[in-house]
Symmetry: C2
Subunit: 105 residues, 2 copies
DNA sequence: CTGTATCCCAGACGATACTG
DNA sequence: CAGTATCGTCTGGGATACAG
């Protein structure tokens, strides 16, 4: 829970679970997150050993974030949350279900 | 995550997953929780439809909390957290692992 | 593009004390 | 036994603006 408790953290891990992604890609994946919070969460996850941060020597510079082995351990938890969250959301609303709402609410 | 995000919430759902329990039993199950927070979490979970609260007509009065069907939906998530948390804790420390630490840290 | 710097505040949490 | 009341602290998160 310490690892997944921060705002947007489950969404973030989920977005990185398929493939490494860059800062701006994550911003696009999760439109409502602010740059500040995204940065904060990425720093925290890096400090906890959940993700890695690699600066690619391009111009303009790009930065790639990827799950570590530890990060991949968390995927089953996210999957359980998504599964339950989707089921519960479908029970109360018939509208389409967004991934963000499932992981946050 | 909204349902499980509060402090001690996963521990609480876990404690209720096997059988209904009373206020003082929960305090004993989770020694470091304060009465105020326990009460607050129970009220919140009740409002969210995760648990039920039944006052038993005994003297002195006792109150029993139980998971609803919705609450039982959350058990797989807790199990996933416990499974991963236990594994990760074992990787970094060789000391015995407490359930509270697995669910909180 | 990839961030940091400020400011701000609601609310969550904890300790302690008190009550029907 | 099963809570409430009160107080204080702290930090997480959001908006906005700026920077290398």
């Amino acid at each position: 829970m310490k690892l997944l408790g921060g705002a947007w953290t489950p969404s973030l891990v989920w977005c990185l679970s398929a493939e490494p992604r860059r800062f701006s890609e994550l911003r696009a994946d999760i439109p409502r997150i602010s740059a500040k919070v995204l940065s904060a969460r990425l720093r925290a996850l890096e400090a906890e050993g959940v993700i890695t941060r690699s600066v690619l020597p391009t111009s303009p510079p790009s930065v790639e974030y990827a799950l570590t082995e530890l990060g991949r351990e968390l995927i089953p938890v996210i999957e359980a949350i998504v599964r339950v969250g989707t089921k519960l959301t479908r029970m109360t609303a018939m509208a389409p279900v967004s991934l963000e709402s499932v992981l946050r609410d």
